[in-house]
Amino acid sequence: MYQCQKCKKQVLTCPACKYRIKDPKATLINQVAGVLVFLTIIFVSLEIKVKEETEIAMKPFRQAQEETEKKEKVKEAGPPKQAKPDSNAAKKKSNNKKSGSAGKEGDFRAGTWGTLRSEILENEKAQKLEVRNDPYNLDYLTKIGNFEVVAHYMFAQNRLTGGCYILTGQNLDGLEEIRNNNKIKVGEACPSWVKLDFSYYQNYSSPILNSIAAADQFFYEMYISLASQMGPPESTALEELENSITRNEKIESVLAYDRILVYSWTTQRSKINFYFACLDSRPYFRLEYLSLKNAEKEDNR
């Protein structure tokens, strides 16, 4: 903008053509200011976004802090009686760690992938079973909850490559009725290796796995335990059908029509397969841990 110092009037138009006069310097300053305004808007929006993300990251801590504050307030209001430390619980905890099946670091029980067969023989405390006398397998009798299960080690070139827990049940009653009612049939047909396992472990079938309800309970408790630790399975035998059929339909189909269901998870070091099958009215469960290298070979089984 131009201004006459004498008459203090602004010179806004050209005296010759009467068009508005532009000041290049002022225009340049305005342009620079415009760029800076734009940058300011960007910085402000970035700040808002970053603060939102920080808020999300800190949410659990804030909640924990709030809970702690609440607890402190409750304590101030009235001091609670101090509970005696539960010595039994502590003992149980320590016993669990010593049991050889839980709490120890290892890929399968006490063994990591690649452990020598002789080391497993030395370290495994469970009762050894003389089922197969070959260098590729070792079997032990152990417990999952109330169920006696077979812990089966698999070796290749004298080194541990996989392991599984196998649980077989008694002949189930009531399956004929399900078949007669023409219930839905899902899952794959029971493969031949299940029959082989039944023949190996026929003397170790669990006496308490003797009803459809017991099989159902064991299957779901195992499934929920695995899913709570590792999330939903990466692959399921039923795929899209998995969520569309009911729990009963799944169990009845497997038990009545000799089918097999497989749920798989992959961790950093292992592939975990949970099989639920039935053969000749006898339920079969197999929780299998395989080293990732060995998993592909076993998948082709």
């Binding site: 903008m1 131009y2 201004q3 006459c4 110092q5 004498k6 008459c7 009037k9 602004q10 010179v11 138009t13 050209c14 005296p15 010759a16 053509c17 068009y19 006069i21 532009k22 000041d23 310097k25 002022a26 300053i29 305005n30 620079v32 200011a33 800076l36 305004v37 940058l39 300011t40 910085f43 402000v44 970035l46 700040e47 970053v50 603060k51 993300e53 920080t54 990251a57 800190m58 659990p60 801590f61 099946s101 839980a102 709490g103 120890k104 290892g106 890929d107 399968f108 029980r109 006490a110 999952i144 909850g145 827990y165 335990s225 695995l226 630790q229 292992s270 975990i272 929780l287 841990y289």
Partner: protein
Amino acid sequence: MKIVCDHCKNEFEACPSCGSGDIERKINFNIIFLVVVFLSCIFSAYRWYSALDSYERAQRLRRAYLKEKIESRPTLPFAK
């Protein structure tokens, strides 16, 4: 001061009203605006940088928390 019209390219030095040659450029307001905008830009950049810093700290804390949480998960009732 010589003023050049962008439209007709004529140059003139005298005030069209009084004929005086004492014309000056007045850009005080523009400069003040520029300074204010510049300062607000610097300030918002600083605030963003601080927010970024606290975001990184929060993320580190979260990662440490999650790691600890995962490691202290109860084990399955069988070996893994």
